[in-house]
Amino acid sequence: MKLKLKELRKTLYIFATEKTIGFTLISIFLGLVVGAIFLAAAGFNPFQAYWVMLLGVFSKPSYISYTIIRATPLILTGLSIAFAFKTGLFNIGAEGQFIIGSVAATAAGYFLHLPLLIHIPVVIISAVLAAGIWGGIAGYFKAKFGVHEVISTIMLNWIALYFQNFLIYTKGFQKPGGETSYSIQPTANMMILKTWKQSEAGREWLLQHPFWKDLLRTPMNWGFVIAILMAILVWFILNKTALGYRLRAVGFNKFAAEYGGINVNKNMIISMFIAGALAGLAGALQVVGVSHKVTLIAAMEGYGFDGIAVALIANSNALGCILAGLLFGALKYGGTKIQMFPVKAPSEVINIVIGSIVFFISIPKLIKVILTRKNKKEGTK
């Protein structure tokens, strides 16, 4: 008990001295200020715009639900990047791992015919494995040939993107006449109360309960719960397990890890596998919970890149990724609201707001990162 208290005190001490939370809040505030300046310069009333955004996120149950749905994949890609980062790797490849995850989920969801309670886990596990292997490839290249993971994952992103588009034009997978795949089987659908919602009785009940009707209007699903569980799991693995010890040791100082008998190469591959699996899970949840299929994509959708920002905001803290993902989801979803009447701001302005928040958070953080990296190399005392 006494030890636990001490641990808590240590965490709090780090919290207070590093001022992470305070620092993050200030950055968010500065980002909003800069966004406001841009809004004003473009001829919009920033107060009105932010008010509309706020209402657009919180004023209805369905809005909150949409925000959470938006946030779910970002939490997971954020976790993927944060996890890799804690183990000394920079996973730019969450984007491609997300794609592989969603393609694998769609394939398993459409081609396999399984009973209800088994189908979803099978779909998710296949997606996680496929994306894990996709991430693991980058780890393997680094371990075997010394190819930097940033370079290999960027290339793997493009391969994943074209692979998805190729599959969509493949007979048997492509839905005739459309630029999408077939939809997954109903047994693989993870939307909450999906059949009941559309049933006679369900519709009647909902008519009398407007709160629930509004809430269930959205593709609400279990993804968010899974994402939170994953954040806790990642935190647990990193901080409480022998595997986490090994991975962190490699991340902090691979020379010392090697000296201590830890197989650095193997652990780099494991780390990239787990990172890939997390991003792939994001893709899988998107398919089973929201989109139910994959579509032709012209460019990267940005789940992986937004995940980098989420990880930065969260300071690579697994539990922080939940909050950072929610913030990001809210900005993205709320942002769409100011495009509409009465503000009618162009979507670029929203991106500027988001961009400046990320900027203020990441610039000092990046500097911090660079400094600690440098310290590590030069070995200061």
Binding site: T241, R248, F252, F255, E258, Y259, G260, K376
Partner: protein, 513 residues
């Protein structure tokens, strides 16, 4: 004559008054006073963790003091960052160097103060000329066009000193400059210090080696656990006097060691060939064997294959050919993991690169090789309670200061970092303990303790392989001494019969056997 009388006629360039520095609740400096005089060498002496580096980091603007004031040439100054320190003519050479490895010597020296010709173009010619001029003036010879990564540690240190001088340093802080140097390089450094003071520069010298303080310093400030103990005139004292002031008790420099008959051979190396980073043969058909219950010392000048030999034994470097055996098992080209599991422990030469994960706390560092085993982990889950209990035990036994197992390794003093490594490796209770420069950066008290630990290990009938540049250490602690030269063992002598001259001759390649 006394400190007051001797210093009366001297010019004070720096006065640090009542400096206190706290890290949280921990008091690293407790109203310490330091005066530095023009053209004089002022030494700082104190046990590991006494607060020497902290005090100097305050003077150099890396830390701000909790209270106290600093005067430079009689004027009160506020040194909030190193640039201000540099403006006031203060230069610092850190315990661990801060050079850019792929740059040349000259590029590193001029960094941040580059001479510029018209159109803001870097004037490399002038830079080279300037560097040459300073280096000749103080006898600090370096090759300005060599890359940092290709030159020796001693040379790198010269570059650090030149860098400070190039920026106009009048007061030079040297934090344990000799810890990483070979005996020859130390002699050269002391000569350089003399040249500098002759030119009116003032030096602050931190060292654990009392002999160097006696040889090089005029005054010596003694700190114990952050507290100011005394400032003495070096010519009026001796090594014993300094040591007892510093530790607060008598220290024995030579550890008592009973004769012990060595047992059977436990470890052997046969015709070992190992290449270095540049693919040149560094260990050349080396043969060696160590018996149970003996300490084999390896003497030699830096760069004769010691590093490569150790890395080859411990699985960190590939063996080209030859054979390494322990307890009758072949461990040639085993992985570090396999080597460790054959009960070989290793105190590495480079503590910050290999020995510690600086971002881990002390307790996490104590289980680096055993984190996955019971009682530290059960079914893959770390058992923090057990880890902490174990870390506390080690901290107590090896006197790591402060006694806080949750302290991050990065924030430990250099000597205490070393103690954590030694504690971990000795506690693994290995059949063969490889100790490379184990007392580097340790205070005399701690050195005494480490030597005792090595001897205790031997008395338990274990084998110890001690590698050190300090001939004194090798001669005092070892049972047998092997001398390495150009990757070969050129001679083995019994420590009882060893003479410093013969060893020196063999180390320089004049061996007989």
């Amino acid at each position: 004559m006394g400190y007051e009388n001797v210093t009366q006629s001297l010019t004070k360039v720096i006065e640090m008054k009542n400096i206190t520095k706290k890290f949280g609740d921990f008091v690293a400096n407790d109203s310490v006073n330091l005066d530095v005089f023009k053209g004089k060498v002022h030494a700082l002496l104190g046990e590991n963790g006494a607060g020497k580096s902290t005090l100097m980091n305050i003077l150099y603007g890396l830390y701000s003091p909790t209270s106290g004031e600093i005067l430079i040439n009689g004027k009160k100054v506020d040194i909030t960052n190193p640039n201000i320190a540099i403006e006031h003519g203060i230069g610092m050479v850190h315990q661990h160097f801060m050079l850019i490895k792929p740059f040349t010597v000259a590029q590193n020296i001029i960094l941040g103060r580059e001479p510029i010709s018209k159109l803001s173009v870097l004037n490399m010619k002038k830079a080279l000329k300037d560097v040459k001029e300073i280096s000749e003036r103080y006898g600090l010879y370096v090759d300005p066009n060599a890359k940092i990564e290709d030159i020796s540690v001693g040379m790198q240190q010269r570059v650090e000193i030149l860098k400070a001088l190039y920026r106009g340093a009048e007061i030079l802080i040297l934090d344990e400059p000799t810890a990483v140097l070979t005996p020859q390089e130390i002699i050269e450094l002391i000569q350089i210090i003399k040249n500098l003071t002759k030119e009116g520069k003032s030096i602050i010298l931190i060292s654990h080696k009392l002999k160097e303080i006696i040889d090089a310093a005029d005054f010596c400030l003694i700190i114990r656990r952050g507290k100011h103990i005394d400032t003495v005139v070096v010519s009026e004292t001796d090594e014993e006097g300094l040591a007892s002031k510093m530790v607060g008790r008598e220290v024995s420099f030579v550890v008592a060691k009973d004769h012990k008959e060595a047992g059977e051979e436990i470890f052997s190396i046969k015709d070992l060939i190992v290449k270095d980073n540049r693919d040149i043969i560094a260990v050349n058909k080396l043969n060696l064997s160590i018996k149970k219950g003996e300490i084999l010392g390896l003497a030699g000048i830096d760069g004769n294959g010691q590093t490569e030999l150790l890395e080859a034994i411990t699985g960190l470097r590939k063996v080209e050919s030859g054979k390494i055996m322990i307890n009758g098992e072949d461990i040639t080209n085993n992985t570090p993991f396999q080597v460790i599991s054959k009960k070989i422990s290793h105190i590495p030469e480079d503590r910050q690169k290999r020995g510690l994960v600086l971002e881990f706390d002390i307790s996490e560092n104590t289980i680096l090789e055993n984190y996955y085993k019971e009682p530290f982990a059960k079914k893959g889950i770390l058992q923090y309670n057990n880890i902490q209990v174990y870390a506390k035990e080690l901290i107590d036994k090896f006197d790591v200061r402060p006694r806080e197992e949750s302290k991050m390794a990065r924030t430990l003093s250099g000597g205490n970092q070393q103690k954590v490594i030694i504690a971990r490796e000795v506690s693994n209770n290995p059949d063969l303990l490889i100790a490379a420069q184990p007392t580097r950066g340790l205070d005399v008290g701690a050195i005494e303790f480490v030597h005792k630990s090595l001897i205790e290990q031997r008395n338990k009938n274990k084998a110890v392989f001690l590698i050190s540049f300090e001939l004194d250490e090798i001669m005092n602690v070892s049972d047998r001494i092997a001398v390495i030269y150009e990757g070969k063992i050129v001679g083995i002598v019994d420590a009882k019969d060893a003479e410093i001259e013969t060893l020196g001759l063999m180390m320089a390649g004049g061996g007989n056997k």
